[in-house]
Symmetry: C2
Subunit: 485 residues, 2 copies
């Protein structure tokens, strides 16, 4: 009784996690029923022959080919269809060739051909590139070739056999593909797109909250903050774990026809590049997270002096990611994230100026470690934000996103995207520029990205001063690890 | 022509990477030929019926079930066999039930049953635990149930059909399993065991070389070291990437019968636990690796004062891993790694005493960061080494490894395992104990592990002093990430 309850509970969880799973089960049932009925009511198939070779292959194709997403179903269907066709042709050829050699030699020749073909094809399955996309095709190839070439039929009969095998596979496959496309379709491409946008949201929320959590935690010293970071961590963990999902979805998406706003040859691979950068950034944020609650030993006054640039770095990085998420969801080209990237970089420069001003000379050596690590992680996050923004621009260009209709700067809308974004004047170096709308701002940003204002250059400068070189290396190292996730 | 050359080159690479792959291709060919011949020469099967349902199912089973390792083949074979049996029984029942209801209602009832069964089974495939081990069984279950219940045969005929389907699946499956077990078997369990031991070797080599690389690099300032670390990194990257492989192998190994030195219910899951700890350790080493070449700015005299404990921590951790690797390969219980764990811990204590002695008070604040990070990474590696050693002891107990025959302390053999290992006297705190052989030493170690000598306690003490708290958090954080790899 307990077990039944547990199974039902797990079933509810699985269904709630993604309700489309329930619909998928009905779609599979429907496809099976359709194919069965097709063979049941066909004029030339009597009732007693219902489980003829024909019906069997069709039912089998439906069960094996029907996958959750359109891309996976199409990929498997094409793999199966093409492999059956090619192996069928070669099998007939082999059979014909062997039949010319006389009754004694024929079986030996046939068996030898099957042996060689199976061994070669099996070896091909070890090739990494073949394995990712065509593993199933090779399996079906071995199978069909063996079945057809080994059959003891005469040449005419074998043509019948091959034809019926191919036609049933095609009918079963079409049934799956049509149902998966036209009945509540699950597009792998759309899923990948949404996953990326939601990952941007996750990072953006954390970065925008970071300033408050970091400085308030140390003012209050309470434990609520710990719990909150705990929840955040869970979201990051799922983000850090998303590599496998993203790769599978991109792989399936490449089989999919144009759908929704996604055209033919949508740059799915670029999603993986952006996703990898996001995971790197999440890794830094994850590390930062632990500093929120461990940083108590830094003197209050030093903390206060660093507060402004630190807050600005995270909140502006966060806003830039929010803008990216919005432009991704709407699939429009937008430069509104650039201005936030620029602001976070100018805050970064302000921070490095502060650090170089000798503000920390009166801090005890060992207390420095935590503060410096926090700072270098944040610098790294700002640099990554710039890279992410560039990477999304590349994606927008490759995917031919529409241009934003018009600047939204004078709108009074409460949404972030409607708000006027402008560079914050940097008091420390006086490099800030005040501009009136997104377009101008982005032009300025483009220029400044190339200039020495770039935070990347700032980081290198610090390294040249020999100050946080080691940490930069640690971070590079973490980045290397990221690639492996 | 170029493409053919490329394919041949890639083929050579794939074959050289694991020559057993070539043998596997021959085994698949052999299985196919055997099954074909069985149906070809069977007394009751005439030539023209060669591609009867029977031969077809057997050939299909061979192609689909034969996998690279014994465990994977057995798992798939059992999945297919049991699912066919159960679904066959239920299918016959469903068919019988429907046939009682009259000619008009029968097809409707049958189709409904197939629909419900397919939908429920498809839903089950979304359960994570079902998906890992029984996904293939459910696929075959849906297939067989549909084929048998939908067949238009009479009850007697259907029994024949079910019987022949089951017998062919069993014959095909047995053929695969027998060939995979008796012809150059590839045991997933043995592979997992070897993979773990080789991962220990990789870490051990790096740790033992670390001292030389770290201190020599800074004496010479040359670039050879960079290249060497580059090569090491590659090995670590493959180690850090081994999670997926390990999980797949452990999953397959659970299907395998006792083989070689592995008994029934060998604790394969424990291999995953040890492997995860090794990856954590590799992560720290990977981070350390970047410090070898970035640490130039630490003053020579301070470096020299820290050299002895730092060298000892890494070399002793490395030796302990070497001992573990040896005892794993020989499958013997050995406590010879404990003494090295103890030595590395006493070096750890010496280091923390040095750090607390104020040796670093004259170091510039920002120069500290790199040194402190190196130190805390090393402390973390020592702590992990202790955990790894414990975890391997658990593995040895659960797997009932044999006890070491006798202490090897007086042997003159040149091999590491034959050398006498003894605790190195710790000059800083005078806690070192000199003992004469492995067995005594391990007793002492066991006691000291529980005492405040334990490096773990040392680390906590440092934290209590408020010195490197933040770094400990960073490391804990990295550890959390490790779990996700």
């Amino acid at each position: 009784m307990e077990t039944v309850k547990d199974i039902l509970k797990e079933g509810m969880r699985v269904a709630n996690e993604d309700p489309r799973r329930v619909i998928h089960t009905f779609k599979v049932g429907l496809a099976l029923v359709l194919v069965s009925s097709f063979y049941y009511y066909q004029p030339f198939g009597p009732f007693t022959d219902f489980l003829g070779i024909n019906a069997m292959w069709a039912v089998m194709t439906v069960v094996v080919v029907f996958e959750f997403s359109v891309g996976a179903t199409l990929g498997k269907g094409l793999n199966r269809g093409v492999a059956t066709l090619v192996a069928g042709g070669l099998g007939i050829g082999a059979h014909h060739l062997a039949s010319l050699s006389g009754a004694t030699v024929e079986p030996i020749l046939l068996v030898m051909m099957v042996f060689v073909q199976a061994a070669l094809s099996t070896f091909l399955r070890f090739f990494p590139r073949v394995k990712t996309k065509f593993d199933y095709a090779i399996l079906i190839f071995i199978l069909t070739f063996a079945l057809i070439s080994l059959s003891g039929f005469k040449d005419e009969e074998i043509l019948d056999l091959a034809e019926s095998r191919i036609s049933t596979v095609v009918i079963g496959g079409f049934c799956c593909v049509l149902i998966s496309i036209f009945v509540c379709p699950v597009w792998a491409g759309q899923d990948l797109h949404s996953l990326l946008a939601s990952n941007f949201d996750t990072l953006s929320h954390f970065l925008q909250d970071f300033g408050d959590e970091y400085f308030e935690a140390r003012e209050k010293g309470d434990y609520k903050v710990v719990e909150k970071s705990g929840r955040n961590l869970e979201r990051f963990n799922s983000l850090l774990d998303s590599k496998g999902d993203e790769e599978a979805l991109a792989n399936f998406a490449e089989w999919e026809p144009p759908h929704g706003k996604f055209r033919f040859r949508h740059p799915w691979k670029q999603y993986l590049a952006v996703g990898a950068l996001l995971r790197q950034c999440a890794n830094r944020i994850d590390a930062l997270n632990s500093y929120i609650n461990s940083d108590f030993q830094i003197p209050m006054d030093i903390k206060m002096r660093l507060e402004e640039p630190l807050r600005r770095m995270t909140s502006e990085s966060g806003r830039s990611m929010q803008e990216v998420s919005i432009s991704l969801k709407k699939m429009i080209k937008s430069s509104s994230s650039d201005i936030h990237v620029f602001n976070s970089q100018s805050a970064c420069k302000a921070l490095s100026n502060l650090l170089k001003s000798g503000i920390l000379n009166d801090v005890e050596p060992l207390q420095m470690v935590s503060l410096m690590t926090t700072a270098s992680l944040l610098i790294d996050i700002v640099n990554l934000t710039e890279k992410i923004s560039e990477s999304v621009h590349e994606l927008a260009t490759a995917a031919r996103f529409k241009n934003k209709m018009r600047p939204t700067v004078y709108s009074d809308s409460g949404s972030i995207s409607g708000r006027a974004a402008m560079p914050i004047e940097s008091h420390e170096d006086g490099h800030g520029v005040t501009v009136l709308n997104d377009v101008d701002a982005s032009n300025n940003v483009d220029n400044s990205l190339g200039s020495e204002n770039s935070c990347h250059h700032v980081a290198i400068k610090i390294v040249e001063d020999g100050e946080i070189h080691a940490h930069t290396s640690l971070l590079e190292d973490m980045r290397r690890n990221d690639r492996l996730h």
